[in-house]
């Protein structure tokens, strides 16, 4: 199976510190990859580069074999979901938030679709009309997942998605991630959560001192 999102020889330094030192990574459709490593070690930076929010100092990113620099950034980003560890909520209700992606492209999402998306992300229906900014960290994360689901992305990049969730919610989220991967999405999940690592059962990468290594255990 060809790699869907592929990065080659990525280098990135920040304030004189080398975060990525020649990183190669392939995220294949239908497969989950997890990423661990010390905090402050460049994992979020790698996600931001793959999610097209910043450029590497050196190296190349390809989506379906095409250099991303040749693709228009907006349509490219809509194909790659990036769920931050502490996602920001936009003003308005959960419904407004879930509708954001389609609305930016001029499409209006029916309320029933939004309801279905938040349910898949593990939120109860009554959340739909709640003020998004007043939610807890775990609830915000699930809104961010529903918000991303609305765009049907081909690649998912998630930064510590289970950190703010209680065990029952973790189960729901992991099930969703497995479903998405089974349906063909490529997935990179930054996590240190032993349960997530076990249940996602994918390739395990470690980013240490700017280098990516694959755990064989």
């Amino acid at each position: 199976m060809p790699a869907l999102l592929e990065a080659r020889r990525l280098r990135k330094a920040y304030e004189g510190r080398v975060l990525l030192d020649g990183v190669d990574v392939q995220l294949e459709g239908g497969r989950v990859t997890t990423l661990g490593g010390p905090s402050g070690g460049g994992k979020t930076t790698l996600l931001r580069i793959l999610g097209q929010l910043c450029e590497p100092d050196e190296g190349q990113v390809q989506l379906d074999g095409v250099d991303v620099l040749t693709l228009p950034p907006r349509s490219l980003r809509r194909r790659i979901a990036l769920v931050a560890q502490a996602p920001a909520m936009f003003p308005g209700t959960v419904l407004d938030n879930v509708r954001t992606g389609p609305a930016l492209a001029g499409d209006e999402m029916p309320e029933a679709t939004a309801l279905e998306l938040i349910t898949r992300a593990g939120l109860e229906p009554q959340f739909l009309t709640q003020e998004a900014r007043a939610l807890s960290g775990g609830e915000k994360l699930r809104v961010a997942v529903a918000r991303a689901l609305a765009l049907k992305p081909e690649v998912w990049l998630l930064d510590e998605p289970t950190a703010a969730l209680d065990p029952a919610r973790v189960e729901t989220l992991l099930r969703l991630l497995r479903e998405l991967a089974t349906a063909g999405a490529a997935m990179l999940v930054v996590t240190h959560d032993a349960r997530a690592l076990q249940e996602l059962a994918g390739r395990r990468l470690q980013l240490v001192a700017g280098r990516l290594t694959e755990e064989t255990a």
Binding site: G51, Q52, L53, C54, E55, L69, P73, R74, S75, R77, R78, I80, A81, L82, A84, A86, P87, A88, M89, F90, P91, T100, G101, L104, A105, A144, R147, A148, L151
Partner: protein, 266 residues
Amino acid sequence: MSYVTVSFPQLLLSLGLMAMAIAVSSQNHLGLEKDLIVGTIRAAVQLFAVGLLLTVVFRNEHPASVFGLIAVMVVVAGWTAARRIAHGPGSWVLFEYATLAVLVAGVLVLVPVFAFVIRPARWYEARLLIPISGMILSNAMNGVALVFERVFASIHDDSVAVEQLLSLGATPKQAVERHVRAAMNAALRPTINGLLTVGLVALPGMMTGQIVSGTAPDQAVRYQLVIMYQLVAVAAVAGALASRFARRLSFTEREQLRTFADRRVR
């Protein structure tokens, strides 16, 4: 009607007013005496210097000297608006954009009014062009400074949300729409408040000056209205241009949010 003239001894007498303010500060331990003394001297020196310059320009009225002076005003306004903007790309980068915004807004607002409303006897009449341009350019400067300050600060504070909007396929314009709108609103608010309260709270300086120096009140009012409408228009145009520039400067060619070093405002 005759001009009200102020002799030098009379002017010195008015220093008694500053003495009054200094006495209040001292009595109440406000600690403002030094600032009041420096302010008294600075205001006198600056205004006498400007008065001297204007006297020279008025006596030797020539398009080059009149427009040279206005050009200096534009550049100083641009530099002032570009300074002390925290979270922005720095004064030198902002300077050219601020100057351009002040210049374009100033020309758009001043030229039609001079051409069709005020119609000076000579197209370069210094007595009209310089003071009115000064008022308008200074409002453009304040509008640009407010927009720059607000747009860069709010994007910086809300960068996580801005980047998440980009992730969901937003254009840079869509991603910072809220921030730009709030900044434009803030930039226009003082001028609009001025429109709403003019005559109720205070008579505007220019109108007061005209009435004191002998202009009939109804004419002074008309002049003032033209000026006030100009002030609103120039704040709107300069603010709109500044917000476009700020937005452009906030993103890379690949539509990624730029991060600027934190510039502490002293």
